[in-house]
């Protein structure tokens, strides 16, 4: 890998672009801001003073009172939800950057390799037919069965598409793209059939799942998704240099000694892991994976050492901010998050595109 140091296709400093360090600092600051803002917002009124009190109680500095509603609401409901937002946004943002790097195509998004559609199909199968093949499941376990099957469905469909893309002893990216489109269409057809045979209640549940929500964030789910996303981030960030080389073309990257096949395999695996875990726990949160990497590249340039971590940070910020709106704008009810990520993100993104149009 030492030879790679010479092969940085991207100049370090470009006027009008943030330096890598500044971009990372800005990303971190944005996540922190969104997290703090999200902590103070919610349907349940908690004043800043009460919030301080709750935080002190949570870290054990002050004895926690029995059954104080602010404490219960913040620690059991709002905090896990915020953390789930960070994990979900980071996973989706990182996966989007990986996919765009791997496909060398700005339109690529994690859905392309079938994680989302596979998870959706498995979730719908569980919602509609779960009572047949998982009989007598208690309701709490039942909600876990949905998470597990959706995660498994995402992995299985990704593996299928990855398998279909194998040719001449290697992964053909063009083949993967076509196989992805085809298998996604098949999964959608399956989803349509399940819609058809579902009852009213099941149909409503499928639709809500497809629109995504952080409402189901429990500590157990946060721990599970958070650790999977953390592993994915660790593996994914290590792919920055190989992806930089692949940006020059696969053949060139191979000549430079980059393990191209291994990089592709890892990128697909990391995406399936991160997006699969996030989607299984929250449903489909669209648009983050597509837009966060673009946004980062507009501001900080195309070096994957910046794009990968900053996409994760920006993704987390976007999901946190959208979720604050989702859970407060129609309080005490809540809007589906998937609707809001697009409603908030797209106009901001288009404004950005206009401002930077000469660079796109």
């Amino acid at each position: 890998m030492s030879g790679l140091a010479v092969v940085q296709p991207f100049p370090r400093r470009v006027p009008g672009r943030l330096s890598p360090r500044a971009a990372l600092a800005l990303g971190l600051a944005l996540v922190l801001w969104a997290f703090v803002w999200g902590s103070t917002q919610g349907a349940y009124a908690i004043t800043t003073a009460q919030l301080w009190q709750v935080l002190l109680q949570a870290v054990g500095a002050v004895p926690a009172p029995e059954n104080a509603p602010e404490y219960l609401v913040f620690v059991n409901i709002r905090l896990p939800r915020l953390l789930m937002g960070v994990a979900a946004g980071a996973g989706l943002g990182l996966a989007g950057a990986l996919m765009q790097g791997l496909f060398r195509n700005p339109l690529a998004d994690p859905g392309l390799i079938g994680v989302s559609s596979g998870a959706a199909l498995a979730a719908a199968l569980t919602i509609v037919l779960g009572s047949y093949f998982l009989p007598d499941m208690p309701r709490t376990l039942g909600s876990w069965s949905l998470v597990i099957t959706a995660f498994g469905g995402g992995l299985v469909v990704t593996a299928l598409i990855y398998g279909l893309a194998q040719a001449d002893g290697g992964t053909r990216i063009g083949l993967m793209l076509l196989a992805g489109v085809a298998v996604n269409a098949l999964a959608l057809a399956g989803l349509g059939y399940l819609n058809f045979i579902s009852t009213d209640e099941q149909l409503r549940n499928i639709q809500m799942w497809l629109l995504g929500s952080l409402g189901g964030a429990r500590w157990s789910a946060v721990a599970l998704v958070g650790s999977l996303v953390a592993v994915a981030c660790g593996l994914g960030l290590a792919l920055a240099r190989p992806l930089n080389a692949i940006a020059l073309g696969e053949a060139q990257a191979a000549l430079l000694g980059v393990p191209v096949e291994r990089t592709k395999r890892l990128a697909v695996l990391v995406t399936a892991l991160a997006v699969g875990a996030v989607t299984a726990a929250t449903g489909i949160i669209g648009f983050i994976g597509l837009v966060a990497p673009h946004w980062v590249r507009l501001v900080a340039g195309p070096d994957h050492r910046v794009v990968l971590p900053c996409s994760a940070l920006l993704g987390a910020t976007l999901v946190l901010a959208a979720d604050v709106v989702a859970r407060t704008i129609v309080k005490p009810a809540e809007l589906p998050l998937g609707v809001l990520t697009a409603f908030i993100g797209v106009p901001l993104f288009l404004a950005m595109l206009r401002q930077f149009r000469s660079k796109v």
């Binding site: 919610g42 349907a43 349940y44 009124a45 059954n67 509603p69 219960l72 609401v73 059991n76 409901i77 709002r78 939800r81 309701r139 709490t140 039942g142 909600s143 058809f196 579902s198 009852t199 009213d200 209640e201 409503r204 549940n205 809500m208 929500s213 409402g215 189901g216 429990r218 859970r327 129609v330 309080k331 005490p332 009810a333 809540e334 589906p336």
Partner: protein
């Protein structure tokens, strides 16, 4: 039977109130009951009002459309897609709903915050209505009023059943849920199927359970004598004239007489204290229109 359902409803509400002068006069909170209640489901909300517990009602879901005062309460969203923090922000002591309420994770979170959650099983039977009354009565600390209301409802139900049993014809009825593309119609195991049977009709669809789209040919072979729809559904289509222009209806026996019974959706399918009135109205109108 008068067509003016609004009048029936108002009379019914008043009669319920007259039977319960004690609670209605003051609307005071009973010592044993929950001081702050969130009701998830139109029928349960109606019961809350009938038991004179409206001062204890701090929030309802989007299916709580009757009585009109329920529209002005805080809305916690659709009962299958609740928000834990949203529910808790109303600081309820108790949440009542049907088993359709969810998601289960959210209800667990609400329970873990120390709020009593009571769910009534929804199985489209008369007993479901009585269970709703009993549950709200227990939660609101108005058992006595609930027992009185149950007796009153049982008497109404017996009278309606007697009237239905007296009719000799059992018209073939088809309930149409919506009209996007092929019409979605009610098969077995649906609230509409139960309503048709309660009102002395037979469901023209017995081949499948739940709501499914029906082709024009299947519509013709189902041969409904009367079509049932919600007033909201007819309005969405642009009125009765537009309804009868739907091509799949032309081959049904109902088309010749233009036999359509449209009733307000939550009144017809709500399975609440207005069920006897809804069944009576449906029965009378189905008999009259197919005579």
């Amino acid at each position: 039977m008068p067509r003016d359902t609004g009048l029936i409803e108002r009379r019914h509400l008043l009669r319920g109130a007259a039977a319960l002068p004690l609670s209605f006069a003051l609307g005071q909170v009973h010592a044993a009951g929950a001081a702050r209640i969130v009701s998830l489901g139109g029928a349960l909300t109606e019961v809350v009002y009938l038991l004179g517990a409206r001062s204890q009602l701090v929030g309802t879901d989007t299916t709580s459309l009757f009585p009109e005062a329920a529209l002005k309460t805080a809305k916690v969203g659709y009962m299958r897609q609740l928000s834990a923090e949203g529910l808790l922000s109303l600081k309820p002591d108790a949440v009542v709903g049907t088993t359709e309420a969810g998601p289960p994770v959210v209800l667990d979170q609400v329970r873990s915050a120390g709020v009593r959650v009571e769910l009534v099983k929804a199985d489209h039977t008369w007993d479901e209505v009585q269970r709703k009354v009993a549950t709200v009565g227990r939660v609101a600390g108005r058992e006595r009023e609930a027992t009185a209301l149950q007796a009153d409802l049982d008497a109404q139900w017996a009278a309606v059943q007697k009237a239905v049993a007296a009719a000799t014809r059992r018209p073939r009825a088809l309930f149409i849920l919506s009209h996007s593309g092929s019409p979605m119609v009610a098969g077995t195991g649906t609230a509409a199927d139960a309503l048709i049977r309660f009102a002395g009709g037979t469901n023209a669809i017995t081949q499948f359970a739940g709501y499914r789209p029906l082709t024009a040919e299947a519509m013709a072979s189902a041969a409904p004598e009367v079509l049932l729809n919600s007033t909201q559904g007819i309005e969405a289509l642009g009125g009765e004239a537009a309804f009868w222009q739907r091509p799949e209806l032309a081959l049904t026996p109902a088309f010749r007489r233009k036999a359509l019974v449209a009733m307000e959706a939550s009144h017809l399918l709500g399975f609440g204290p207005r069920l006897p009135a809804a069944v009576r109205e449906l029965h009378t109108r189905m008999q009259a229109i197919t005579a």
